[in-house]
Symmetry: C2
């Protein structure tokens, strides 16, 4: 596997420089700190701040969703590693506009621990904070231990929905409640076909045979549920959707949004083939799809594979999902 | 290499079904023909139609740019193969709103020949037509034989700019002139790191060693200029930009847009590293970048590598580039 990089040690800082060179009209670094990205969007005084943080290597996640209608800030760690609590605290304080800051993060030990410390620091500075944690990956733990599940691409629905709620000047508690509701209605699962290489490590993140697929693998190469012989697009759609709907049943007449997310090197055509079958299965159950999301939303660099996220929508979530957004990697203009 | 597909023979038709399932609110098939995609956008009577056509396997190219502010229609061939002249003619006639149709295509033998026949057929039906052909790939032929060059990702700038011109109710000749001007100001070049597999063929499209990179390779695996030992992100940026600027010099004070286009399995982080160096080189020459495009715009399924396109902008091109657009895979909302 070949990587288009310079010095592996400089990888993250150079990516961050490139991000600023490309999107400096919309993003800035906090006091020149390349690991803290803030939106240039002028938001109203009193708007609840919405922030996240996480390791690098998942673009567009996390920082790609900083901007109008979504996140106000993002703290960026090394590849697949949490950023520090201190940087998170600096970001939280910078994103407070008088009514506090909601931290929306994935359920990873480092991110959670550091955000907890960061929130304590920010509270001492007088900034009210709340944390809402994404645990959408149904493959990462059984339902009986759902609080241990990892957060994956479904988190992006929560960014979008909570971002719109904050824009509507809801209070910190209300935005936290909406974010939690979005996540309670979201389930995800992924499959992996090939590993990625962390630049500083230089070796593949896991091994998998040329005719095999790993079901339920995490976005850092965390082991999945089982390794199978390669499946067709239709079989992948069935397998993932069955597991998701077992966990979060849907009924005739329900409306959902579906995200088919490429992990890095899976062609768009293949994502669309999986979407096709998901649509057919859901349609046969009387479920309609609203605002499908097909593309790369949360990657693992050059990992091959995909994840599917399903969010059950009610009128409130639907309205917040369709609200306009304009960030470097998520633009939505509904008519 | 593993592919997430069903029957290889059904690949294109199933992708097209998936496209309609996902974007049926914005796209439709002409008379149920899965290979002819039309925009549902209601355009004004008299607006010049803007269409393209090409082989499958390059998503978002070509059909992903059908929609508001860009293309009115697209005819879709098999993987890496031109669609038929008859289907193109049907599309052209369907996209005429009284003032003719501009066909914007890449310089590939099949596409050109079929579009020529299609235009003849349409003219016999009373539809005025013009063809404008993209030849932006500087690696595909020397400058002295520039008319033989292939069209690659730079074509998307022409879709965007000509689409905006058509929306402004310019005449067929004027839209053709603007499209030609955009292309005259655009140069592209790519590098490839690994091949793709055409589903029905089932074997890699070319061979390349694990420590090598091919400079100037085409998006169907057409041979490039040379094979080198793997380069860094910075070296790739230098190599491509030198070749482009040799062909299309820029002067201090010029403004350009730059597209760094992933060919399918190159991580977004790596595209951003290349963009970073392009920005630094251009900045050192006094050239500023307007509306950078970083992502996957024209792929070769799972090919690894990238292309860079540079378009020199004047006030007119800039205004047309920034005009709003909203298609399944290109959304632009400038403030």
């Amino acid at each position: 596997m070949k990587k288009i990089i310079n010095q592996p040690k400089a990888f993250v800082d150079e990516v961050m420089e490139g991000i600023l060179f490309a999107y400096g009209d919309r993003l800035r670094f906090l006091n020149g700190d390349k690991r803290i990205v803030l939106s240039n969007e002028e938001t109203s005084a009193g708007k609840v701040g919405l922030v996240t943080a996480g390791g690098s290597g998942h673009l567009p996640l996390f920082l790609g969703y900083v901007g109008q209608g979504m996140l106000d800030g993002c703290t960026v760690g090394n590849v697949f590693a949490s950023p520090s609590a201190q940087k998170m605290a600096n970001m939280i304080c910078a994103c407070d506009k008088g009514n506090g800051v909601l931290c929306l993060l994935g359920n990873y030990g480092g991110d959670r621990m550091n955000f907890e410390m960061a929130c304590e620091t920010a509270e001492l500075e007088g900034v009210p904070t709340r944390m809402v944690i994404a645990r959408d990956d149904v493959a990462s733990s059984p339902k009986s231990l759902a609080e241990r599940r990892r957060g994956v691409a479904g988190m992006i629905y929560a960014f979008k929905i909570a971002g719109a709620a904050a824009d509507q000047m809801m209070s910190l508690d209300e935005v936290a409640e909406i974010a939690q509701k979005a996540l309670d209605n979201t389930r995800s699962m992924g499959v992996a076909l090939s590993p990625c290489i962390v630049p500083e490590a230089g070796v593949p993140s896991f091994q998998i045979k040329e005719d095999e697929i790993e079901i339920g693998m995490g976005i850092h190469g965390e082991p999945g549920i089982e390794v199978r012989k390669m499946l067709t697009a239709d079989e992948i759609a069935y397998t993932i959707l069955n597991k998701i709907l077992e966990d979060m049943p849907v009924s005739i007449g329900d409306e959902v949004s579906v995200m088919v997310n490429g992990l890095g090197s899976t062609p768009l055509e293949e994502l669309i083939l999986v979407y096709r079958r998901l649509y057919m299965i859901l349609e046969s159950k009387g479920i309609s799809i609203y605002m499908p999301h097909i593309g790369e939303f949360a990657t693992s660099m050059e990992m091959a594979g995909l994840s599917v996220s399903v969010i059950k929508l009610d009128a409130q979530l639907k309205k917040l999902l369709r609200a306009p957004a304009n960030t470097p990697f998520y633009t939505s203009v509904n008519k």
